[in-house]
Symmetry: C2
Subunit: 369 residues, 2 copies
Amino acid sequence: MELATPCLLVDETKLKENIRRMAELSQKTRTALRPHVKTHKTAEIAHMQMAAGAVGITVAKVSEAEVMAAAGIGDIFVAYPLVTEEKIERALDLSERGRIVFALDSVEGARMLSQATIRRGKRVEARLEIDTGMRRTGVPPAQAARLAQAIRDLAGIDLRGIFTFRGAMIDGKGTLDRRTAGLDEGRTMAGLAEQLRAGGTDIVEVSVGSTPTAESAATVTGVTEVRPGTYVFNDRMQVAYGACSIDDCALSVLVTVVSTPSSGRIVVDGGSKTFSTDAVPGSPPLCLRGHGEVLGSPDLLLDRLSEEHGVIELPKGGPPVEKPRIGDRLRVIPNHVCTTVNLHSRLWLVDALGKPTRELSIAARGMVT
Amino acid sequence: MELATPCLLVDETKLKENIRRMAELSQKTRTALRPHVKTHKTAEIAHMQMAAGAVGITVAKVSEAEVMAAAGIGDIFVAYPLVTEEKIERALDLSERGRIVFALDSVEGARMLSQATIRRGKRVEARLEIDTGMRRTGVPPAQAARLAQAIRDLAGIDLRGIFTFRGAMIDGKGTLDRRTAGLDEGRTMAGLAEQLRAGGTDIVEVSVGSTPTAESAATVTGVTEVRPGTYVFNDRMQVAYGACSIDDCALSVLVTVVSTPSSGRIVVDGGSKTFSTDAVPGSPPLCLRGHGEVLGSPDLLLDRLSEEHGVIELPKGGPPVEKPRIGDRLRVIPNHVCTTVNLHSRLWLVDALGKPTRELSIAARGMVT
């Protein structure tokens, strides 16, 4: 069977090896693994992660949690501040059927959650989000104790953990070092947990770690859980971070060469509605060249994207490259796999030869609320 | 009713005015209007465009054509080279029920189409794609006559038109001038059509024009059709091109403030899975600041996006801005509306006060093949 392009192919062997390797890290470091499913949004892959030893999953949206709960995942951390009654109620509905852990980073959000639990006559488990340098959501460590105290004064909420997302951001000197970033993240959070416990808050869970930082963060004493997401598939960003090699990238986008209008240029049927553009080529800290690279031909890059066109300029100089012809099919490794998967409704598991074996629904795609 | 965020809101009055204005241009210049539905991917909006006088629609994908044909649109130009048997067959299936116009830019594609028509014993209508400077698909004008001749030698294909997409690209001097771009595009194509007719090819349709260039391209003698897409909604890119004002932007993304973790920063529940990032802030030729701006508060910009977080840094200096609070809802005009809509499955028509009146399915979203 010939698949219509563009479409997502996932090498099942690499996928399983990526899942196994992270699970092994978790076992070795005695750190719970709670993968973020934002990367794949696919129930079957969440179940593979659970079968390999994950304690539960992480999501960013209640709608993602709804899809995963309906698929039988019973332990879900919604790692995002819910500040509207409608979303809190939906999450509470889910908590009738399984473990749902809430995220808090403001008194306003905590009050709203507390009131909702009082109305239902039930208690919920929550974690405090800490900003360890990303400057998005989360309170700075210095303000955590005050917010923890405010939450303890509210009914219905068991504040049992703290969590952060630091990522492999550049340090003050503009260099990338995922190991240092992970140690820094882990130590900051473990130290904060000690401090909160000394202040009377019963912090049991200290949850950190992204794909680039999990390996070192998991080794820090006091860290209890890591939440990497991208590792299931990996991508060119993770290669640039040093978190994996290009051979560990399990997902590629199958495209067809639709035009070879001049000697140096080929055009494929995938553009910015097929590949994410959010890891900007050439921008710091990653300085990726191109929007994706052809599997097995690292010199062939998606140099420009319009909505439905991907333009590959053949490299000048260097060893001659065999120019793909109209109708040829190429597999392209994307820069950022999470936002690329988010553009598609299904993916194909393929064997080592690229032969499709099973179609999976990306059931939580489009679950934006 | 309170909508769950993030979600797309379309001001119906502005939408209808945008549709009316482009239809009026088409009538005044006696140029057919065949809007590209890539922007909205919504059957009801295609029907609004048809009702206002469009002769048919343009799509980039056979799957989009399938959705629009099923919704009753009977005249569809697939402005993309089809080079696989599977896609050609699907387009031919559609042509049993309505007018389907094919796009060609290679002998290989033309041969494949010809063979498919022979198998079915039917003739199809096609247009030749010309590259007027975008350097993606399309043959350079100088090579058009040779390809036209090759197509005339094939059975089953009536080559009746030429088309191009130039966009408002910068000229050689690095400046943007959409009027000059449109005149240049129109004149190049009208001249080429003359030349092809002199060579014996019966070119009837000369199809050009994008939202920024349609206005001037439509005035060129010999141009018969324009294919703008973005004008239905408009966006910050079109404002930067000078093609509209910010008040003409009909689509905004409704988001909720989920966190105000420091005095100068607020975080909303829409990131790079809600807003497109492909109109890169700060990059030439557009040099847009931010990934989107808050409707009515042009100083409030989406400064940074991660997947589900949009970070707004409050402007320093200048007149004081009232800081949005947790739970507040903001409407954000995106940089590039086409790729933003592509991330969502539905949109809400709203009245002038922002009150939702009707939910529409973005039925052709995810139609990637």
